[in-house]
């Protein structure tokens, strides 16, 4: 399993450029140090992730107020004991809305990446296995998807699929699919050339059995690494689309739409923006640490 892993597109592009020179001791020591630094941060990432999951699952219990209940007598209230993050322009409790918004963000991040993993993996296996014309067509299709700036593609797809969470999930799923398809195809091609696959073939295993029992289990690690790194960026992307007005529609709370709604009150009530903004930033940083930790644990290239 310690073979070459054609990583993300970045690594693929750079592969021909960097020479695998033997590492000097100093650089190796630096890597160990860096990993230690990351390991210190991984628990923070894990804690953030657990907290976000807890908030998402237990939102009805944790939220001190109804996230949709307006109170026009108490609008733009400063953060205080009654409302820890203040209230917005129609008197809704910002903290409650942030807690409920966690649900939308996590669902968006996890579901869209899951869609992309499934679609990308299947397409990658298809391309790597059948080769030739199928390979050419699938990969050109992926190139075509990649030749749109991600946000612009998601915007256009979201617009066509209609505003709402489903449209955004599908759009982001499409946007992230090529990464996984490329990754899986590379894996299939490199694993197909191994001796144990020949051995399985010689024993009379069918093509699907080889794919399912030998190729997929051996190819799965880089997919997991890429998926865990992608979740944070999918959450960012969902927030951006909600900010622009796609995604879950008001009055339902999502971090992006809350930030957009609060932008007119920056002067009087900056907490409407910076409450959900802080939650979004901390979540993304935390998930990034988790992604890095997963990569360190699974990727032999980084393990050094």
């Amino acid at each position: 399993m310690a073979g070459s892993i054609p990583g993300s597109d970045l690594a693929e592009r750079a592969a021909g450029l960097s020479r695998p020179a033997p590492e000097p001791l100093r650089a190796r020591r630096w890597k160990v140090l860096r990993r230690a630094a990351r390991a210190r941060l991984a628990p923070f990432g894990g804690a953030v992730m657990l907290l976000a999951m807890l908030a998402a699952l237990a939102a009805p219990v944790l939220a001190p107020y109804d996230p949709l209940a307006q109170n026009l007598g108490n609008t733009l209230a400063r953060p205080g004991r009654a409302h820890l993050l203040g209230t917005d322009n129609v008197g809704r409790d910002v903290l409650s809305r942030v807690i409920w918004g966690t649900r939308v963000s996590l669902v968006a991040g996890l579901v869209s990446v899951a869609l992309a993993v499934v679609a990308g993996t299947l397409l990658g296996i298809l391309a790597g296995y059948f080769g030739g014309r199928v390979d050419g067509f699938v990969m050109r299709l992926m190139d075509a998807v990649l030749s749109f700036p991600p946000l612009v593609l998601a915007l256009a797809l979201g617009a066509v699929l209609g505003a709402g969470l489903t449209g955004v999930l599908l759009a982001l799923g499409v946007v992230y699919t090529p990464t996984f398809a490329r990754l899986m195809r590379g894996q299939v091609l490199s694993i197909e050339a191994r001796d144990y696959v020949d051995a399985a073939r010689a024993l009379g295993a069918s093509g699907w059995r080889v794919a399912w029992r030998h190729v997929v289990p051996n190819a799965i690690n880089p997919i997991i690494v890429q998926a865990s790194l992608s979740v944070a960026f999918a959450i960012l992307a969902e927030a951006s689309l909600s900010f622009l007005g796609l995604g879950i529609q008001p009055p339902q709370a999502s971090w992006g739409s809350m930030i957009n709604a609060g932008r007119g009150y920056l002067q009087q009530a900056p907490w409407i923006v910076f409450g959900p903004g802080g939650a979004l930033f901390v979540t993304v940083v935390g998930l990034n640490f988790v992604g890095d930790a997963v990569r360190d644990a699974l990727d032999p290239r980084v393990r050094g």
Binding site: V152, V160, R263, F281
Partner: protein
Amino acid sequence: MGRLVLRRLGATVPVLLLVTAGVFLLLHLTPGDPIDVMMAESVDATVKENLRHELGLDRPLHVQYAAWMGRLLRGDLGRSIRNGEPVIENVSRRLRPSLELALCAMAISLVIAFPLGIASAMRRNTTIDRAGATFALCGICMPNFLLALLLIFLFGVTLRWLPISGYTDPLEEPWNGLRSLALPAVTLGLALAAVVTRTLRSSLLEALAEDYVRTARAKGLSEWQVIWSHVLKNALIPVVTVLGLQLGTLIGGAVITEYVFALPGVGRLVVDAVFARDYPLVQGVVLLIAVGFILSNLIVDVLYGWIDPRIRSR
């Protein structure tokens, strides 16, 4: 070098075909009747029929595609439903603010990233290295719109130093123009600077471990001379790769930045067209952006060949 360009161009053609097909099908993915989505219920049925006919939606799909491609090749991208103007004119009017924004952001990011990246690599594990790493992490994780609002809050609302929205052309009124571009360009530039700093630092570290660096040091060059004349050019290749890969993110960021700061650029046009359900305009602009994106990637590929002679021969 010429062959490299030709080969890349050749590989681009099938992708371009698929992209046009995708953009064409965009309109047909709409659940329900696109005309009903574009126009209010109350609009007269004959008006709807006319639009349907004008857009060719009453003809078979392949005929529509052929007609659309034919017009495309003659440079006709259709007309906006809202203002009836050709898409090309809509876009070209919006191009200048977008390009100015992109150039300023690029300049800002390089001005920040190069000193910070080089300092981080030369003074590894010091305060400046850690500061650089923290900056890079924050820049990568910070959503564009949040950074924009933070800057607006600080410099626009609290300190009142800079305008928070609107656009003045710097080519006509240099001072006010640059002021109107300052916050958007910093928003976009900081995010890019974060990625470039991180890449530059790690590629410099890799290059510093090479044998020729030891040789250069052994012959008595100062650390600055080593960096400047031996390491930097070799460390530049991953930076160009990352800049190329970041281009898409940059364009997406520009869309959001233009939206937040009400800059009348191409990104703002996309958002407006999407929400006005002006599908011909969406199609046209998205296609133009994709083509621009493909061409810039082509330029990045060719840049490799220019920086690294080894690639030219491959």
